[in-house]
Amino acid sequence: MSLELDLATGLLYLLVFPGFAFLFVYGLTAEYLDRKLYARLQNRVGPPVVQPLADFLKLLAKESAVPEDATARIYNAAPWTGLAGVFTAMLYVPVWSEQAAFAFEGDLVVVLFLLSLPSFSLFFGGWYSGNVFSRIGTTRTITQLFGYEIPFFLACFAPAVAAGTLSTSGIVAFVEANPLYVFVLLPAFAIALLSLQAKLERIPFDIPEAETELATGALVEYSGRKLALFRLTKDVELVVGAALLSALFLGGPAPAGAIEGSVGLVAGVVVFFVKTLTVIALLTVLKAVVARLRIEQMVDVFYRVLVPVALVQIALVLAVGLYTNGVIP
């Protein structure tokens, strides 16, 4: 392949699919579906299809003030960091086949790191906006981060241990080859779902936002364009998180991955949508049926319950691996 062709496909990956344009559209669509399903579960009609786009455009056109007490440089840079993080993370998650747009050994660690960037950008933006509410919100964001990151990492490493590789594409290929692992990894999938919900700061883990106590926490001073970027970051993070979970635990493009040619490509994309939308729907139902926890209850649940379960899961995966290799009869 010539260099120009490489550059062209690289740019295509970066800007169109699965990069910027695709993530933008799919992120807004995911927000719409999330809100619509949430409304239906509350016996409401819900917003029209274009609602997320209208919100985004309106915020772009609004005044974006910088408060007097804020540290302007960090305050302005924070929304961009998180957005850049989630957009980059998608490039290492397989979409249409077991091969991601870009892949190398160990990219799972990079994806996990990039997915925690939004939380840190929220922390820095909130902390340096000079508002008391946002300071309390950001301390809660960080406390919550310590709660969910460890179970999330442990859960994501369970399939990595099973596959014996730290590359997302390798894990997808492994689970595709051994579909029964989907059932072995079910507990890890549940843990990852809960952690993703906490990462996105949605009910029941919306303690850092807590409208009734904190007036949206870290975002309290953000307005206009910067707020639009933060909201877009949340949407895209939802999509990337769902894509990562479907790749690690549900076998990525599993039944369609074996088909060759352009038919396989289309089938792979369809399977991708079905699986990510399932994950998003699960998260929405969770959001609709439970109420908010308190911060110490949340950390308690994650440390006392989910970390031990994740450790047992890894032990289980090791045992199954030894059994299938014939070491244990």
């Binding site: 009609v45 609602q51 786009l53 309290v220």
Partner: protein
């Protein structure tokens, strides 16, 4: 471009509710309007928790002396463009608190108001209708401004901008609205 932004603004009004010394009647009705029964998310209306996110300030109550500087401050904290709705009789004129020693006479004593919604208390339907009408009105103003920018000669020649905007047929109003309603104003024949 301006048209797209107008469309987006009309589709996504985020409101901030502020109690300026209301008797709580109007507040309960405002909260009522946010409940699933009225489902204002259909119009893209969302209740926001901080002035920085809001487009429309829904203020209730006659504005007590203590609340006046705070109302002003919240108004100033909202990013442009912003609109203000005075919800309830008290917010519009002072209502039952008129001429009270510790109250101002309505929201417009302190900040500019774009829409008055009367009622003691105002009903949720009236509030939702008010927000929708206010958006239509502000959309027309924005349209007039765009036109004035594009064709400055209209303004220079002395035609008011409002009249220069072509009138759109009002889809909501049916003919029956305009037709004089017979017998509506006639007093009942009194039989002796």
């Amino acid at each position: 471009m301006g048209r797209i932004i107008d469309w987006a603004r009309n589709r996504s009004p985020w409101i901030l509710h502020l109690n300026c010394g209301s008797c709580n009647g109007c507040d309960i009705e405002t909260i009522d309007a946010l409940m699933p029964r009225y489902d204002i998310e259909r119009f893209g209306i969302q209740q926001k928790d901080t002035p920085r996110h809001a487009d429309i300030l829904v203020a209730t109550g006659p504005v007590t002396e203590q609340m006046a500087p705070r109302l002003k401050r919240v108004y100033e904290q909202m990013p442009e463009p912003k609109l203000v709705i005075a919800a309830g009789s008290c917010a519009s004129t002072g209502g039952v608190f008129y001429d009270c020693y510790n109250c101002r006479e309505g929201i417009d004593d302190v900040i500019p108001v774009d829409m008055y919604i009367p009622g003691c208390p105002t009903s949720p339907e009236a509030l939702i209708d008010g927000i929708v009408k206010l958006l239509a009105e502000s959309g027309k103003e924005a349209q007039a401004e765009r036109l004035a920018e594009k064709k400055p000669e209209i303004v220079e020649e002395g035609t008011p901008i409002d009249e220069a905007v072509p009138k759109e047929p009002d889809a909501d109003r049916t003919e029956t609205d305009d037709a004089p309603q017979e017998g509506a104003d006639e007093p009942e024949p009194v039989e002796v």
